[in-house]
């Protein structure tokens, strides 16, 4: 026999607690302090003992690293649905430390109840399937129950069994099998191990999926050699000491973890080939069954394994879709460092046949941060925000940070960095596209504040780009960054911004064309302090405007011309920190469905023709979102060839969204005829004409040359894609 490759761990099982549950949880706290891996409370609820789930939840709040759970849990004493919700909450509250060991040993419990419990718990924790959960069993039933909670990691479900039938069940369905040496001898252990293996194999599983634990007590617990033999001969990887509250129990707990555990680990390492107990994460067969074709799942680089999310994983429901786009990727890699980003790109290079999404906050429209069956590299973990130089207001920000958090960190310094119109957006996507935010007319685009950026290129190289190093890349990142690599850090000089005026004004606008023209006239004379965004609908208009001033007189005087446009039906004007505006709406999990149809247009003036075409579009009903962000001001101070964002002289950025791209285009085309270009962030059309709308010819040619140098095989193409030039750019230049 051999080991199953799992590192050896040590736990303590606390019995009873009938008279004194306080003693039981004290042992749990002690176990945490002593460095145990697991503490479980045995279920004796039918004998009048304390409730193990309550003991586990209390202990979770009083411990920090130890895994906590219930053992020998009676599968007939509570609805499995309630165990599922309880274990789910325990997993959330303890930050991933929950486990459940169901009892199929003594006293005898109908194995069907155990098996049904496993099925019910797993189906309620499966939030990725997006369907309600049903199960019709003898003991446990679900009919259309809402799955949840959404977990980062599944709660491990073990089965405690000391007979062949129970061991077979463990082998068939469980994440682990646990057996008590008080119930079987070593010969029995060997027999039952073989039963577990056989049942696992028969069920199409890898026997290594079923971890093995043995509960020990008394002198047997102190015989390190015997425990080593169990690791080597029977693949046991968890030794659980049965403890009671007596003083002798406490001293045995110390001896077991301080003396026995190191001896067992050393002995096992000596007896087994090097590296035998450091196996990589192994998913259950039913999880692996949800893998997609053409992905080398077993070759994911070691450093990315722990955080990777596959379609069968508990966390998949949280990462599959983005804010506006439904998705079903085959693998989500979540790097935590530049090196891990490079490794993820290495993996992506081996999968060029698949779509590749790069996700920071998951709000991208042209930047595809999810897909169907492909890879996603989610840089959400790279979310540090650090002030590098207080005097220079230089701040380093990771691509995974959200603008709401950036604003919160900058606020105490009296600073702000204009971003977009919603704080949940991630830094990476926006800061490589442009960033048309509420302070842009006064302070420019987000990219105009960039001083340096660090990027992992398609070949895995980490480069720094600034005005003095890799300056062509630095130019390109500011407007077309998604095409050139994965940004892993940005360095911005941010602005001194006191509290701002923040207005939300709603108007009657029965004639959208007239309203638009009037809005355009007001903006033409508007001081730079004020940046208004307009949302126009059928019969109504909504203006959200930020005034970079905390002086009520300035705020009122700059807003007054808008109030004069049309009858005001609602108004709210407050003086608040920029961070408060970015944090107006709470974060909600992303659950987009389908494919967004979004169109962008940049215009210099709101001409009568543009206004009339817009009015037709609004009246057609094909669009549910018509937003104009004003640009201009400081944005236009930057030369058009200074960054890849080139349409510096346009003053209005229109975004239109609809449910159906074809019908939307039918009404949007007349609007587009009046435009000077587009902002790629809000354009979902990928046709070459749109690329030409985004980049003037000189800009596009320059981008294509750089693309040919840095990403000649076009690894980064699931975005607003710039095809590399085909000719040899080096000889041509």
């Amino acid at each position: 026999m051999s080991s199953y490759g799992h590192p050896v761990r040590f736990g303590v099982e606390i019995l009873g607690g009938a008279g004194a549950p306080g003693d039981a949880v004290s042992l749990a706290v002690l176990a945490d302090q002593l460095g145990y891996d697991l503490v479980s409370f045995a279920d004796g609820v039918e004998e009048g003992d304390a409730d193990p789930l309550t003991l586990a939840a209390w202990s979770a709040a009083r411990t920090s690293t130890v895994q906590v759970g219930a053992s020998r849990l009676r599968a007939t004493a509570r609805p499995a649905s309630i165990i599922a919700r309880g274990a789910g909450s325990l997993q959330l509250l303890s930050q991933g430390r929950a486990m459940v060991m169901l009892g199929a040993g003594t006293p005898a419990v109908d194995l069907d109840a155990v098996e049904e419990s496993v099925a019910v718990i797993r189906s309620l924790h499966d939030t990725a399937r997006r369907s309600r959960a049903s199960h019709s069993g003898t003991y446990h039933r679900l009919s259309g129950a809402e799955p949840g909670p959404s977990l980062e990691q599944e709660v491990p479900l073990w089965v405690h069994a000391s007979d062949a039938a129970g061991a077979g069940l463990a082998g068939r369905v469980a994440d682990g099998w646990t057996v008590d040496l008080a119930e079987v001898d070593l010969g029995g252990l060997e027999t039952l191990s073989a039963v577990v293996d056989g049942a696992a194999t028969d069920a199409g599983r890898d026997p290594r999926e079923v971890r093995r634990a043995v509960t020990v007590t008394g002198p047997a617990a102190l015989d390190a050699d015997a425990l080593v033999a169990m690791v080597v001969d029977h693949g046991m990887s968890l030794f659980v000491l049965r403890a009671d509250g007596a003083a002798a129990g406490v001293s045995q707990m110390r001896t077991f973890i301080e003396d026995v555990a190191p001896a067992v680990r050393d002995g096992a390492e000596r007896a087994l080939p090097p590296g035998a107990l450091t196996s990589r994460r192994l998913r259950r067969a039913d999880v692996r069954a949800r893998r997609r074709p053409d992905i080398a799942y077993d070759e994911v680089p070691e450093d990315l394994v722990e955080m990777a999310v596959e379609p069968g994983d508990a966390a998949f429901g949280k990462v599959r879709s983005t804010y506006l786009r439904g998705g079903n990727p085959g693998l989500v890699l979540r790097p935590r460092s530049e090196a891990e980003v490079a490794d993820a790109l290495g993996f992506a290079r081996q999968h060029r046949h698949l779509p590749l999404g790069i996700r920071s906050g998951g709000h991208g429209i042209s930047g595809r941060s999810t897909n169907d069956g492909g890879l996603v590299i989610d840089v959400g973990a790279l979310d540090d925000i650090t002030v590098l130089d207080q005097a220079a207001r230089l701040v380093r920000i990771g691509p995974g940070a959200r603008w709401r958090d950036v604003a919160k960190v900058l606020q105490p310094h009296g600073w702000a960095l204009s971003s977009g119109d919603y704080g949940g957006v991630g830094v990476g996507g926006l800061a490589t596209a442009g960033g048309i935010g509420f302070l842009n007319r006064k302070h420019g685009l987000t990219i105009d504040h960039l001083r340096a950026v660090e990027v992992v290129l398609a070949d895995g190289t980490l480069v720094r780009a600034s005005g003095t190093e890799n300056s062509e890349l630095f130019w390109a990142v500011r407007g077309a960054g998604a095409n050139f690599g994965v940004a892993v850090a940005f360095e911005f000089v941010v602005d001194e911004v006191d509290e701002v005026g923040w207005a939300q004004l709603a108007f009657q606008a029965p004639d959208p064309a007239a309203y638009l023209e009037a809005f355009g006239r007001v903006v033409a004379d508007l001081p730079r302090e004020t940046t208004p965004f307009l949302i126009l609908g059928q019969g109504m208009a909504q203006v959200m405007a930020m005034v970079d001033s905390s002086d009520p007189a300035v705020i009122i005087s700059q807003l007054q011309p808008f109030v004069d446009i049309a009858p005001l039906v609602q108004q709210q004007v407050v003086i608040a920190p920029y961070a408060a505006v970015m944090n107006m709406f709470p974060e909600a999990p992303h659950d987009g469905r389908g494919e967004p149809a979004s169109r962008s247009a940049l215009v210099r003036e709101i001409t009568p023709g543009f206004a009339a075409a817009s009015a037709d579009l609004i009246r057609s009903g094909v669009s549910h979102w018509y937003q104009i962000r004003t640009v201009g001001g400081a944005v236009a101070d930057v030369a058009s060839d200074a960054t890849a964002y080139a349409h510096r002289d346009t003053r209005f950025a229109l975004t239109v969204m609809g449910g159906n791209a074809q019908r939307l285009d039918q009404w949007f085309e007349p609007v587009r005829r009046h435009s000077e270009g587009l902002y790629l962030s809000f354009e979902s059309d990928r046709s070459p004409d749109r690329i030409a709308d985004a980049f003037p010819p000189a800009t596009l040619a320059r981008l294509r040359r750089l693309k040919a140098q840095l990403d000649p095989h076009n690894l980064f193409q699931d975005n607003f894609n710039i095809a590399p030039t085909q000719d040899d750019t080096r000889s041509a230049s």
Binding site: G48, A50, L53, A61, P79, S81, R141
Partner: protein, 304 residues
Amino acid sequence: MTTDYGHDLVFGTFVTPANRPVHQAVEQAVVADRAGLDLVTFQDHPYIAKFHDTSTLLAYAAARTERIHLSANVTNLPLRPPAVLARAIATLDLLSGGRIELGIGAGAFWDGVAGMGGPRRTPGESIEALEEAIAIIRGIWDTDDPGVLAVRGKHYTVHGAKRGPAPAHPVGIWVGAYKPRILRLVGRAADGWLPSIQYLPNGLPDLTEMNRHIDEAALAAGREPGGIRRFLNIGGHFTTQGRGFLQGPPSQWAEELADVALTYGTSGFILASDDATLTETFAAEVAPAVRELVETARRTHGHE
């Protein structure tokens, strides 16, 4: 007409057990504890996946607080087998040093209950089941009784179940109830009554009639009506200008709640709050003022 059962007043909060952000509900319990409130409560709807499991949340929050009492508001009986529930409550009461109470209801939202594998009961059945459950729960807790614990009900049966653990303090069984039949059960078997103001069809005046059902049933069962504490779940906002009931400055709230206490005998006010400032203001500016107004009135009018 005035009713006052003479209890000391208690003040608490009713916190949404949202599981996102994960620790938000726990943090709100800590806020209530530090603010000096007497009680923090969570609703129990296991079929709603965005809520924490209330039993787990209560245990975790109890471990993170020091003085405040905690209760479900109210426990969903159809999904919580009574003997296990009794042991879980007793376990937590022992761990927390006697800070746990048992708010409990007959059940509602039967589609949700059935979806999670629970029974679908008619109103009459749900009241029967609750009465059986209360008998079992009290039996489990009563470790002094040497007799065999036997309840043979239509919905729950125990025979010879081991008693215990006994809770650390006399845990109050508080029932959420509105209709006459279940109000009579409160009078016969419960220690407290836990209605929500928004479910009173005609508002506060309904309390008079509901109290009467409880009082009459208590007397018929040989119990003292005053032994049953009357709670009220309330909601409100602090505003500088008074706009209505519990829509005004703290001094207005205090007068309104003191009036409720003296008119209807309500002695526990539980405010729906997921907001630290609301909770802290309630604790610091409303609770002491209501206590003072009620004490003064009791002295003046010679209440017991």
